[in-house]
């Protein structure tokens, strides 16, 4: 599903922040991406969701070499990936319902065709009562769940989550982890970037540990 071969990344003329990354992410797999702050977790996630391009090396996503794809093809690949941003990135002028429905809207689908699905998912994550609220009035946990709902609404084949439990209490963190695990059981490959060791200890999964720009795999 995802293949990195000797991937390196530097910003501008600075030092390499990621060096010689070689690994695979298999379909239906579950992994934690961890490492100390500043180790490059967010940069690696950005490479995974094609927000930035590597300075060197080869990245293939869904068997496509991303260096050879045009913007339309990249957009089509991104639709197969769900992303939970650390800072949520909900659109403040849209209701929770509209934020979660956004992936369907950019696909050009009619509102009536996805309405039931969105409402069902919002209830699933406990936001049934808040679906017409605007993000500025949601609590941190509610925003987190709305962001997760938006990431999974289109049933992505790969889910990338950047510190998805960083803004919630441990109890809700456990429940969100459970949500990711269940999603993984339905066939979605999951990558959770976190430095919350307690969270990782709750679920036995592969760990990708970044340290000083290099990746260490613990299967």
């Amino acid at each position: 599903m995802v293949r990195f071969e000797n991937v390196g990344l530097r910003y501008g003329l600075g030092p390499e922040v990621l060096r010689d990354l070689t690994f695979r992410i298999n379909p239906r797999s579950f992994q934690f991406l961890t490492g100390p702050s500043g180790a490059g977790k967010t940069s690696l996630l950005k490479l995974l969701y094609m927000s930035i391009r590597p300075t060197r090396g080869l990245i293939t996503l869904f068997n496509y070499d991303i260096a050879s794809l045009d913007s339309d093809d990249l957009a089509a690949l991104r639709r197969r990936i769900g992303i939970v941003f650390q800072d949520f990135r909900l659109l403040d002028h849209m209701t929770t319902y509209e934020n979660v429905a956004l992936p369907f809207r950019v696909m050009g689908r009619d509102e009536a065709s996805y309405r039931h699905e969105v409402i069902e998912l919002l209830q699933w994550v406990g936001l049934g009562e808040r679906m017409w609220a605007l993000p500025p009035v949601l609590s941190g946990g509610e925003k987190q769940r709305a962001a997760i709902a938006r990431a999974v609404i289109a049933r992505p084949e790969l889910l990338l989550a950047d510190e998805p439990t960083g803004n919630v209490d441990p109890s809700l963190g456990q429940r969100l982890l459970r949500l990711f695990v269940e999603l993984n059981k339905t066939g979605t490959a999951v990558v959770i970037a976190t430095h919350d060791i307690a969270l990782m200890d709750q679920f036995d999964a592969r760990r990708l540990v970044l340290h000083e720009g290099r990746l260490h795999l613990y299967d």
């Binding site: 339309d72 849209m94 992936p103 699933w124 406990g126 017409w132 049933r155 949500l179 066939g187």
Partner: protein
Amino acid sequence: MRGASCCTKAACICMIERDMSDHRHSRPSTPHLPRGALLQVESPIVPKDSISGRALVAVVAIMTFLASLTTGAVMLVRATASDWQSDVAREITVQLRTAPGRDAEAEVRRAADLVRAFPGISDVRVYSREESARLLEPWLGRGLVIDELPVPRLIVVKLDPGSGADLAALRKRLADNVRGATLDDHRSWVDRMRAMANSAVIAGILILGLMFAATVLSVTFATRGAMAANRTIVEVLHLIGARDRFIVGQFQRHFLLLGLKGGLIGGGAAILLFLILGSGATLFAGTAWADQFDALFGSFSIGWNGYIAILLQIALIAVIAALTSRRTVFQTLDGF
């Protein structure tokens, strides 16, 4: 895989619902929605009303107003200068130098008859001695005894517009038949008037060019400013898989409407101002200042051409706002 996920999602939902249920105080079994909530119109992807959007409308309105005033002023100067020029060119003057021992009145009559008989002449008016004296009043005062001065007698001749009177032949005929008669076709005045009118129009076009450049730059920067506030939207749309043309289309449409709104406010205000000034000149016609105003600016109407030019300006400025947003979105997308 997608099919599989669809089949197993129901079971998954049940598990997650059980899991999430203790987190929620109560969960309705059916969606709890405000009445008619699902019938509400979806929010636009680019927010309709924002501080940066309102600022852009204000900038576009002010710049369109100023650009429209400049356009109107240039058209007014051009039309007025053209009127002055044609007025002067439609008139010629015959001068008769008087000399002691000559019957000036008889020579004036002969010259007038000769001119009147010439083709292409619509009106001939002989200035009497008193009228000639009145012409000199501003310089020499009242009570002037004109006989003591070598003041030429004047015949003002109106040309038939479009007839193309042969002034060279008329000049020759006058010189041959009336002693001391000369013809002034105001060519030097017309040339000066033409030069002045052309200078005024060129200066106006230069000012209009500068004004328009300032408008384009202001609208461009204001659009970029408004776009910067929407960068998060571009990023989110991009990362959830929106195609570039979808994102660009959303912003282009939004900024075209903002540009049109600002343009219509500014351009509309300018059109209203010209209409008020035009009708004001009509209402006050006959008063001393209105006559002076009329002499300087004619009817003070920019005409249909002027109004069409202002409407085109509004459309052009709206298109500039839309194209700037398009370019900025592409630049933002290139940065990802």
